[in-house]
């Protein structure tokens, strides 16, 4: 409410007086407007993923005589991937604390750890995909595998984009310092990375754990 009022500059001055509840009077900082806008984007991204999840759930049984999840999924590999992404979510939080406190060692160290863990996740995922294709279980084998590669690959593409964004943020802090606009971008990056981890929770539960148990 107040974010939109402030963005539009609307409302007479008496309307900006502090009121009860969340709707504070006065201008809202740009950081809050940017964070809220990016939160809306992330929710729309989650809705896009839910469409892929619905597709996967509908097609999960359509193996066309090919291999199913029980034969294909290696839960040991998935557990390591999950650990990588969860720890990277934690280090990303440490990096955002370091950025707000303007502590270079915290920020760069935690961002580098996030980069390594995210790259490790991607490496494991690419290796899994390559192994599936080599076994003749590529996306063309059955509707189940098409939906699997679309859903998991879309998450992998998001992680790839996140890693590029991460490198950009490290370079921008290095070149421009902890300016207000750079800090807003770090806020958005942190939200993006944590949201990827939330999607991964749904993914390893629905695709791998439920798929391997069937």
């Amino acid at each position: 409410m107040s974010a939109f009022d402030a963005a539009a500059g609307a409302g007479p001055s008496w309307d900006r007086q502090p009121t009860a509840g969340h709707a504070a009077g006065g201008l809202v900082s740009k950081r809050i407007i940017v964070g809220y806008g990016f939160w809306i984007f992330l929710l729309s991204d989650i809705i896009m993923f839910s469409a892929f999840f619905a597709t996967y759930a509908v097609l999960a049984g359509a193996t066309a005589g090919g291999p199913g999840g029980r034969e294909l999924f290696d839960l040991h590999n998935v557990a390591i991937e999950t650990a990588c992404l969860l720890l990277s979510s934690f280090t990303c939080g440490i990096a955002s604390i370091g950025a707000r406190a303007r502590r270079g060692s915290w920020f760069y160290g935690a961002m580098a750890a996030t980069l390594i863990l995210g790259a490790g996740f991607l490496f494991l995922e690419v290796r899994e995909f390559a192994g599936l294709v080599a076994r003749g279980a590529g996306p063309t084998r059955s509707a189940f595998l098409s939906a699997f590669f679309t859903l998991v690959g879309c998450h992998g593409l998001h992680v790839t984009a996140g890693l590029l964004w991460l490198l950009t943020m490290m370079a921008q802090v290095f070149a421009k310092g902890y300016r207000a606009d750079i800090l807003r971008r770090i806020l958005c990056f942190g939200l993006f990375w944590h949201t990827l981890d939330i999607i991964w929770v749904a993914l390893f539960t629905v695709v791998y754990l439920m798929g391997a148990g069937q």
Binding site: A24, S50, V58, G93, I94, L187, I198, V201
Partner: protein
């Protein structure tokens, strides 16, 4: 623009998602919040992987247990990593989240429901092929 443009009672300020309260506090407290989130998420993940492979419980209950654990872990991530809380400074963020969850539920249940009915009511594919001959 900066945070200093916010006027009025600090308790009425809005908070950006991902930000904790804007009043000054120590870094140790911030890290502690992330550590609690990491511990809870790790616990729920380990239980999920254990439940998925165990033979100790009645097998049809496993998908339900996995769904409950996943939703709990998403809640942990939202609260401790994204800092979406029920506080008065977070109403905008929570309302947006609630709308997103509504759309996700409509999309998922609607798709599964309609496709299951279509699947059930459609003639088996080999019979369709025979009719076309």
């Amino acid at each position: 623009m900066s945070d200093s443009e916010q006027t009025g009672d600090p308790r009425n300020w809005d908070t950006a998602p991902g930000d904790e309260d804007l009043d000054g506090h120590e870094m140790a407290g911030d890290v502690g919040s992330y550590l609690v989130g990491l511990a809870l998420a790790t616990l729920l993940t380990v239980v999920s992987f254990f439940i998925a492979q165990t033979t100790l419980v009645w097998q049809p209950s496993i998908p339900v247990a996995l769904a409950v654990l996943a939703i709990a872990q998403m809640g942990v991530h939202l609260v401790f990593f994204l800092h979406i809380t029920t506080g008065p400074d977070n109403v905008n963020n929570v309302m947006a989240l609630a709308f997103g969850v509504l759309i996700v539920l409509v999309l998922m249940t609607g798709s599964l429901w309609i496709m299951a009915h279509l699947n059930q009511n459609m003639m088996p594919m080999d019979q369709i092929m025979q009719m076309q001959r």
